[in-house]
């Protein structure tokens, strides 16, 4: 679980490799399709569809998006499922897909915010 999923490229350190782009090597058992949608004035990711390891956590995905969008330290990225709740950072995306995926993909909305204070 977490970042030590099956993929050998995922280490505890900063992960320069993002999840595989678009379709390609999408092993049904290990990766799920995630569609990322920006909310509000959050920058839109050029690539919206990603194949993500099931074991990847929400936190890991959020960090990836944050780095991709070059958010600074004052900004927190929020991820929503069904546009109605935020999954826990430790939640595995595979589980989210099982519960909330439709049409073979998990739609996640992301939003950057100052969040607190």
């Amino acid at each position: 679980m977490s970042d030590s999923a099956e993929s050998p490229t995922e280490t505890q350190k900063e992960e320069p490799q993002p999840p595989a782009d678009d379709s390609a090597a999408n092993d049904e058992k290990k990766k799920i399709d995630v569609l990322l949608k920006a909310v509000g004035d959050t920058p839109i990711m050029k690539t919206k569809k990603w194949a993500v390891d099931r074991g990847r956590t929400v936190q890991s995905l959020a960090q990836f998006i944050s780095r991709f969008l070059k958010l600074d330290g004052n900004e927190q990225l929020f991820i929503y499922v069904n546009q109605s709740f935020a999954p826990s950072p430790d939640q595995e995306v595979g589980v989210l897909f099982d519960c909330f995926g439709s049409d073979g993909k998990l739609v996640l909305h992301y939003c950057k915010s100052q969040a607190w204070g």
């Binding site: 900063e14 890991s60 939640q91 595995e92």
Partner: protein
């Protein structure tokens, strides 16, 4: 009806719905009423196995982290071996969900009792999360210790402005010192959720959605089942979830 503003009545309503679900899921929330008043709040206690990471506390540049006489949280001052500024290396090493951990500090992990209260704030028109934490011997945690127990996902933001995130305040109803998660940006992160709900004519439980966002910051997870077991459409339009 403006969805962005939560009035007290709606707050109560959302809380009651949450309570019903909590009962189904045995999640432990109860409604506490203040004696001699109509006011109440949601309350939950939980045990958490926490590793207090003093490195995070030290980054605040407060002198508090080493002045704590208590030894039960003797977090080492050793720097993290692989830690850059990335929060993903600063992990509570005992969270079950986090298998791969790279922290090299000798932080001790211990079981702490957390008590969470959800109150309504008239000033902000939103729920506010108050909490306090004790060791099993009954010692309260300090603010620095609380900061160091924040989930790594939010650690960076916390480090940038700790005093704007979690501070100590007097509980508005109980008058006791509690930690509180600052509510002033609640509307900002709730807005997309509420806007979407409104656009799709789909009801959403404000308190539940809000809790799913702020809870994990302080170790309070909202089980997924809140969103799967009960059909969302039932949340606000009926009184019983089944």
């Amino acid at each position: 009806m403006s969805w962005y503003v939560l009035d007290e009545e709606k707050f109560h309503h959302c809380c009651q719905l949450l309570l019903q679900q909590s009962e189904q899921l045995r999640d432990g929330w109860i409604w506490e009423v203040v004696q001699g008043s109509k006011e109440g709040y949601l309350k939950k206690t939980a045990l958490r196995l926490v590793t207090l990471d003093s490195k995070a506390a030290q980054k605040q540049e407060r002198s508090g982290s080493d002045s704590e006489p208590h030894t039960s949280c003797h977090s080492s001052v050793k720097p993290h071996g692989q830690e850059g500024e990335q929060p993903d290396c600063i992990r509570d090493e005992v969270d079950d969900e986090d298998a791969g951990i790279c922290t090299v500090t000798e932080s001790s992990s211990q079981v702490l009792q957390f008590e969470y209260h959800i109150l309504y704030s008239c000033s902000y028109g939103s729920p506010v999360l108050y909490f306090r934490a004790f060791t099993l011997e009954g010692r309260s945690l300090s603010l620095e210790e609380v900061w160091s127990s924040v989930h790594p996902n939010f650690r960076l933001r916390l480090q940038n402005s700790p005093l704007n995130t979690i501070t100590q305040q007097e509980h508005p109803l109980l008058g006791q010192p509690f930690f509180v998660l600052h509510p002033c940006k609640t509307e900002e992160f709730m807005r997309p959720v509420l806007q979407a709900a409104q656009d799709q004519h789909r009801p959403v439980n404000y308190v539940l959605s809000w809790l799913s966002v702020v809870g994990p910051v302080v170790g309070l997870d909202v089980p997924l089942k809140y969103s799967t077991v009960v059909h969302p459409a039932a949340s606000l339009s009926s009184t019983e979830p089944d």
